[in-house]
Symmetry: C2
Subunit: 213 residues, 2 copies
C-alpha cells in the first residue's frame, strides 16, 4: 500500500535502469512531490530499502561526468517487477480516500493489458459500492440518522465522495472500452519520462497549482 514504492518502481522500470536523481526528476516532472510524499529523502530511502529487499538491483557507478557524488544505478529484479504489478493492481481496485495512490495508479494503468485494466476498474466500482453500503449500515443508528448530530455530516460526505468516485471510474471504463489510449499489449506506449538531454519544465521550485502552504 505504499505510494512511493509504486512510483519509484514505475519510474525505474520506464528507464530500464536509472539512478536516484533520474527517478527524482521524473517524479518532479509528474508533479508527484505535490500530491504524494515523493521528496528526495523518501525517494532515496525507498530505493535503498527496496534494494535491500531484493526488489531492485543496485549497480555502483563511478563518479558522474557532471559533478556530484558517485551514483548508484538501479534496475528492477524479477521480484521487483512482480511487486510493481501487485501494487499497481491493488491500487486500481482499492478504494480509500487518499488520492495519491489512485493518482499513481492512473498514471501507470497503461502498463496493464486493456482488458485487465477494465476488469480491475470494474472491481473498483464494486468495492466502492460495498464500502458505501457498509458506511450506511454501520454508522446510521436504529433511531434513524439525525441522532448523530453534525457527525452525520461525515457519513454524508463519505457517501457523496464515494458516489462521485464511482461515477468518475465508470466514465474512465467507458473511455478505455471505447478504445482510448495505448495499453501494454498494443505497441508503442506513451512515454512520460525525460530523455537524458531534455529540460525539466516542472523542476522543484517551480510552483504548481495545488500548493496550499
Amino acid at each position: 500500500m505504499s505510494t512511493i514504492r509504486l512510483l519509484v518502481l514505475g519510474a525505474v522500470r520506464m528507464h530500464g535502469r536509472a539512478h536516484g536523481y533520474q527517478v527524482r526528476n521524473d517524479l518532479e516532472y509528474w508533479g508527484a512531490h505535490e500530491w504524494s510524499t515523493a521528496k528526495p529523502g523518501s525517494i532515496y530511502h525507498a530505493l535503498k530499502q527496496m534494494a535491500k529487499q531484493g526488489l531492485l538491483h543496485a549497480h555502483e557507478i563511478a563518479p558522474s561526468t557532471a559533478g556530484g557524488p558517485p551514483r548508484t544505478e538501479y534496475e528492477l529484479t524479477g521480484q521487483g517487477t512482480e511487486e510493481y504489478f501487485r501494487l499497481l493492481r491493488e491500487a486500481l481496485v482499492t478504494y480509500d480516500q487518499r488520492g495519491d495512490m489512485k493518482t499513481a495508479a492512473v498514471g501507470f494503468v497503461v502498463d496493464l493489458p486493456r482488458a485487465e485494466a477494465v476488469a480491475l476498474l470494474k472491481e473498483r466500482t464494486l468495492r466502492i459500492e460495498q464500502w458505501r453500503a457498509a458506511v450506511l449500515e454501520h454508522y446510521v443508528p436504529e433511531e434513524g440518522p439525525g441522532q448523530l448530530g453534525h457527525i452525520g455530516e461525515i457519513m454524508n460526505m463519505w457517501v457523496h465522495t464515494a458516489d462521485s468516485e464511482a461515477e468518475w471510474t465508470r466514465g474512465l471504463i467507458g473511455r478505455i472500452e471505447g478504445g482510448a489510449y495505448t495499453f501494454a499489449d498494443e505497441g508503442d506506449p506513451f512515454v512520460g519520462v525525460l530523455a537524458e538531454d531534455q529540460e525539466n519544465p516542472y523542476a522543484t521550485g517551480e510552483e504548481h497549482p495545488g500548493d496550499a502552504h
Copy 2:
C-alpha cells in the same frame, strides 16, 4: 497541517482534562484509527510532543485504580487552545485530496460560532474553484488536452473530485444556514466523547466498514 494534532487537541479539550488512554478511546470511538493515523503510538507521541511545546500541560498522576502503569493527564494551555482553533480554521478552508483533515474538521466544526463556520466553508468553495482553475491552466498544453495521453485522465479525475467536493460543501453551507445543528454560541453542545462509565462500541479490533487490508 497535522490531522493527529487537531484530533488530539479536540479530544482533550472535550474532556477538559484527559489521559492518553482516554484520548485513544475517543478516537477509536470516532473510528479515527481507520481514516487517519490516529494509532496508539502516534497519539502518545503527539501528546508528549505537544506537552514539550507548551500546547498541553501534563499532570503526573499516581498509578491508576484499575491496573496498568502510572498515567499522565493533559489539559490544553492557552497556547494549545489557540493552536486548536488555528488548525480547525485552516482545515476547514484548505482543499487537498487527503480526506482525513477534512473529516476531522467537520467533526469539530460546531466548536466555532455558526457565522464563522459558514464563512470558512464559503472560503473553502472559493479555494476549490481556484485550485480547479489552476489545474486546468497549468497542465493543459497549448496543443489541447489529448496531447497528454492517458495522463490527462489524472487531471480529469482531479477536476471531477474538486467539483464533487465543492458541491458537497455548498450543501453543507445550506444546511448550516438553514439552522441545522448546535454551534458554539448556542448552548448545549453535541457531545461525542465517552463518559467514564460508558462502554466503547467501536474499540480496536471491532471491524469498521472501510478496512481495505
